[in-house]
């Protein structure tokens, strides 16, 4: 076991982690621990753009953006945070441009902007061009630009280091962060990183679904590390299903395709979104579009032999426009489906895309251990966190924005905290829990296999807690997850070695997914209303009286060592927008 000491440790090297690292490295001795090489992070898969009311191509302002974000989140958004997001969006985009990001340009040479779902002029009048973009590879450009600037700033990376435990210590009656414990993939060695500040920026949890746009590596590692140490997870029942994933594969086809004029059609060729969202049509918010797609499928208007998908039609757009604005997604259609988008419609279905919930933080990125108390020295930003700027449903282009605004804020805040405070003493045997976990899995002779349990989990989640949910389906999921968690105790791995043991890594990741799936299902069961991405067929309406509040899920362990999820609730911050009926 090795012990390292840094002022600031950042867990994860996607957009939020690297944006934080650029700030904290200038101000404090910083280490970035990442299970992937930084440029492999899933920020790079984001396509359509980053929202900011630059007003480069038409009238726009941050207040309209704030409103759209609040409405898009179905009034579960904390409005003070949304206002910060929309206001600081403008500088966040300009910062990236100055760092070198190659945005598409207008004829005047300014950053070009395009339409995106849920972003509107003057509180819902019509779609507005707010998304700053670089073709359909905006996430790739952001990830590359941030990595380039990390190289420039000399950020210290520990690549392929997998953080498995969050160290919390009670000092003077206050629970503080003391550091993290990590597993080095190359050697199997355990490392303890003592740090004054820790920032989680480790991404989402999408791999508990089968049809997902998420990478294999998005397994909720940061959420699980904090949750197991008794910290709450907020709003985990809210998961976004992106309307346009490639049929069966789930690979993302950007909403920018509809922003450029693409149309969704059913088997009769009908532009069905006109029925569900007369004003915004195909550019309604993602939860609305995904439900509309499944309604078409359920009512027998789906496409293909099984009627299990619909079409994204780009055939009316000029090939030059597709080549210039949507080169990657058209190539995906050619590579994975053998379809030419110039002439043929693309089969799509909703795909599990984004966790709105996560580790609760305030607007400085400080992690909360209950509704109001911060954990000194602990921060989170990006998809792993819940500020909450996305509420019950995130708007497209607001995630690339979130990672930049709150990544920067948490990087600055964490470095400032590190300056003003001393190290917290490490607990005795700080690595013991991780050593036990790793050794137990490596030495287990149980008969359960990781791949079997993971597939059963994914199929359960797809069937029971996807776009449409009922008490019955969620209960089925809760029971199945409990069974799988029990069977997980008998999981074993074939690779018993220390060197690059990805077999072991996948087993650990599955443990994280199972814990988080339980939190999600239990949170969803208790929320007896429909709001944003959480749609209950047995409670089809939003219930502001009883449920306009955030879910806070805690892990409870009883005297026999059995754990369960305890739910509590936190008020939503409302500033200027009272809840209204949500129409697009």
């Amino acid at each position: 076991m090795k012990i390292h000491k840094y002022d600031t440790v950042i867990v994860g090297a996607g957009g939020a982690g690297m944006r934080a690292a650029i700030e904290s490295t200038k101000r404090s001795r910083t280490a970035v621990l990442t299970k992937l090489y930084p440029t492999r992070s899933h920020t790079g898969a984001a396509q359509g753009g980053m929202a900011a009311a630059l007003a480069n191509v038409e009238e726009d302002n941050w207040e309209w953006h704030t409103f759209d974000t609040v409405k898009g989140g179905d009034y579960l958004v904390d409005q003070d945070a949304a206002e910060i997001l929309a206001k600081e969006a403008i500088d966040a985009v300009l910062d990236l441009e100055k760092m070198g990001l190659p945005f598409n340009r207008t004829p005047d040479g300014t950053i070009d902007q395009r339409r995106f779902g849920g972003h509107s002029r003057n509180h819902g009048e019509a779609p507005v061009r707010r998304s700053c973009y670089a073709a359909d590879r905006t996430g790739h450009m952001i990830l590359q630009t941030l990595y380039q600037n990390c190289v420039k700033e000399g950020v210290e990376f520990f690549n392929e280091f997998y953080v498995l435990d969050q160290l919390l210590v009670e000092e003077d009656g206050v629970t503080k962060s003391a550091g993290v414990v990590a597993y080095e993939l190359a050697t199997g060695e355990i490392h303890v990183f003592q740090a004054k500040s820790v920032i989680y920026a480790s991404g989402g949890t999408g791999k508990f679904f089968k049809v997902t746009s998420n990478a294999h590596t998005l397994t909720g590692d940061g959420q699980a590390a904090c949750y197991r140490r008794g910290l709450p997870l907020e709003d985990m029942e809210f998961f976004q299903f992106h309307p346009t994933g490639i049929w069966r594969m789930g690979i993302l086809l950007t909403e920018g395709a509809r922003g450029e004029g693409g149309i969704l059609r059913n088997k009769d060729g009908e532009r069905f979104m006109e029925k569900y969202a007369p004003v915004m049509k195909d550019l309604a918010s993602r939860d609305v579009v995904s439900r509309s797609i499944y309604t078409e499928i359920r009512e027998g208007r789906g496409c293909g032999p099984a009627g299990d998908h619909v079409y994204l039609d780009l055939t009316h757009l000029p090939p030059e426009q597709l080549d210039a604005k949507l080169p990657d997604i058209t190539e995906f259609a050619r590579t994975y489906l053998g379809i030419e988008p110039y002439t043929d419609p693309i089969p799509i279905q909703p795909t599990a895309h984004y966790a709105m919930g996560g580790i609760p933080t305030n607007v400085e990125g400080e992690v909360l251990r209950d509704n109001t108390t911060v954990v000194p020295g602990l921060y989170a930003a990006g998809e792993v966190a819940c500020v909450s700027v996305h509420g019950a449903n995130r708007l497209g282009t607001n995630s690339l924005l979130d990672i930049n605004v709150f990544g920067k804020r948490s990087g600055i805040a964490a470095a400032a905290y590190a300056h003003a405070h001393d190290f917290v003493e490490l607990p005795e045997n700080p690595a013991q829990q991780v050593i036990d976990l790793v050794e137990q899995l490596r030495n287990s002779t149980g008969r359960e296999r990781v791949a079997d349990l993971r597939l059963e989990l994914q199929e359960t989640m797809d069937a029971c807690v996807m776009v449409f949910r009922t008490e019955q389906t969620i209960k089925t999921a809760v029971d199945k997850i409990a069974e799988l968690r029990e069977r997980y105790r008998n999981v074993s791995v074939q690779d018993k070695g220390k060197r690059f043991n990805t077999d072991l890594l996948e087993a650990i990741e599955l443990g994280n997914l199972l814990d988080l799936a339980e939190v999600m299902a239990v949170s969803a069961l208790a929320r007896k209303e429909s709001r944003g991405g959480h749609y209950r067929e047995d409670y089809p309406n939003r219930d502001d009286v009883n449920f306009m509040r955030h879910t806070m899920a805690y892990r409870e362990v009883d005297a026999d060592g059995r754990d369960s999820v305890r739910l509590d609730y936190k008020p939503v911050v409302v500033t200027r927008y009272q809840p209204m009926e949500r129409k697009y």
């Binding site: 090489y37 100055k98 760092m99 070198g100 340009r105 207008t106 002439t343 296999r449 077999d503």
Partner: protein
Amino acid sequence: MATPTLSKTDQMEAAAAASPFITVTFRIRRFNPEISEESTWQDFQVEIDPKERVLDGLHKIKWDLDGTLTFRRSCAHGICGSDAMRINGKNRLACKTLIKDINPEKPITVEAIKGLTVMKDLIVDMEPFFQAYRDVMPFLVTKGNEPTRERLQSAEDRERFDDTTKCILCAACTSSCPVFWNDGQYFGPAAIVNAHRFIFDSRDEAGEQRLEILNDKDGVWRCRTTFNCTDACPRGIEVTKAIQEVKRALITRRF
């Protein structure tokens, strides 16, 4: 829609519904120094839909047959650059190569990319590759005070370096280069591509410095224009052309 009949999409959907699994042999070069200093070829038989990816085949092996098979992967659709490997003797991304496109009748050979030290099975040491990248100053350098708003750039100036912005640092190009195989000191195509991305960016002011770095004995002149890199690039970047443009800029000092 263009026509009422959707022939190509219809055909694809019907073929997908038929789901014709075939048996494919994967012949994988295994190496684990914890067990042996020698690498060996191992065959696996996999039932797979030919429209699936080579990566899907590797996952079937790892998940159902042999958990010790070790490789990197993440996004599984050609964006993250984790899974460059040598498939039937050619550098490709396993997640962007469909079984049907590489003759599944014969065994599919899979081995680690060349020129970088193999650590275990298909995993290589990427550190020398990233070091070469870091050495070319892969970041925008500007002088003077920053403008309040964005720097202006015409659409034409933006287009000038568009091709090289697509690089995902997968190392397929660099590890396909015979010069790099023979001499690991050579910067390699990927680092030059990333230098090109800034040299030809109208906002950048460090082109001369980068050109001097690449004028080095291990720099751009080592390129023998074999086009392996261009063939290998999963992003379709015209790598050899980019290298030629850097060479020309070194001679003319115009960029």
